[in-house]
Subunit: 202 residues, 2 copies
Amino acid sequence: MSTYLDVGISPGPIPVNHSTNVKVFDSRTKITELVLRCVILGLGVLSAVLVGTDSQVKEFFSIQKEAKFTDMKSLVFLVAANVLAAGYSSIQGLRCIISMVRGRALFSKPLAWAIFSGDQVMAYVTMAAVAAAGQSGMLAKVGQPELQWMKICNMYGKFCNQVGQGIATAFLVSLSMVMLSCISAFSLFRLYGGNKMKNVDW
Amino acid sequence: MSTYLDVGISPGPIPVNHSTNVKVFDSRTKITELVLRCVILGLGVLSAVLVGTDSQVKEFFSIQKEAKFTDMKSLVFLVAANVLAAGYSSIQGLRCIISMVRGRALFSKPLAWAIFSGDQVMAYVTMAAVAAAGQSGMLAKVGQPELQWMKICNMYGKFCNQVGQGIATAFLVSLSMVMLSCISAFSLFRLYGGNKMKNVDW
């Protein structure tokens, strides 16, 4: 008997046989997934480059001081998270393309679980990186006078602007990851639904 | 025809009729959900109290200075997120209990979507709050000498310790929210699976 409890058991390659509505919806979902993965790849690289290559030199009484992203640990985390998201999305995007070119690929629950888990982790990691970098950015912009942490963006205006753009781009990356994690949750958990499940209450 | 595209259409109250395995799994999932919601309620309140009531007075050359959570915007965000999570969980927990007491409740896709959306938002909000507060906490603990932001935990040791406990508790809250958001994704998306969907590739 096949219930939705049979985690990890692949139904194997079986010819697809479903209505036109479902087919159209499936192909739209696949295309949305591919587009989102490409967006994450592009914006992830852009954000990492914007933050990672940012620097500004200022002279204070003949002493040169350079602001760079490694001065702030949260920006290092942001760059790392974006590089990771871009790399992860390129692999997943490749899988999407292969699956679309082949027309029908064998579907397995373990693969769906792997994609779901990866997307979940990446969504939370990118969101956390944006939150931490955003917090640092706010401190740099407005300071925290109660703690004697002075704002530095009045000195390094160009540097701060570029970091701001990098954080905004990273926010779009994390939003795309959140949407993807919803799609992969859908792809995984609908495998556990039978017709009789439609009437179950929670 | 009922496909998995019929979003928003409630099947209405229909007697539950499924195998023992599924019944056991369902009731275990419900209990897990209720336990997690209670954990979030308890830990959310604990974290908010730990951070919100924390204060320490130090005297510097006859000038008294008090450290409190409002000195750091990220801690205010953390307290707000925890209060929100606790309030949200108490309402959702109540819904769980009512659903369990009634035995069978009418299940509707709009309700499942509402629970799923709420859980997703709360999971990301609590995770972002922990990341931002954690970043501030690290700055307070080790400082950022490149930016002339000095560590303050050597002066306010007791204050910092209690905030650290609050952040750790909030991290448990956000982990529980992540688990809950997976459960509610399962509860929602399995409604969209038919038997024929089991063979579809992605």
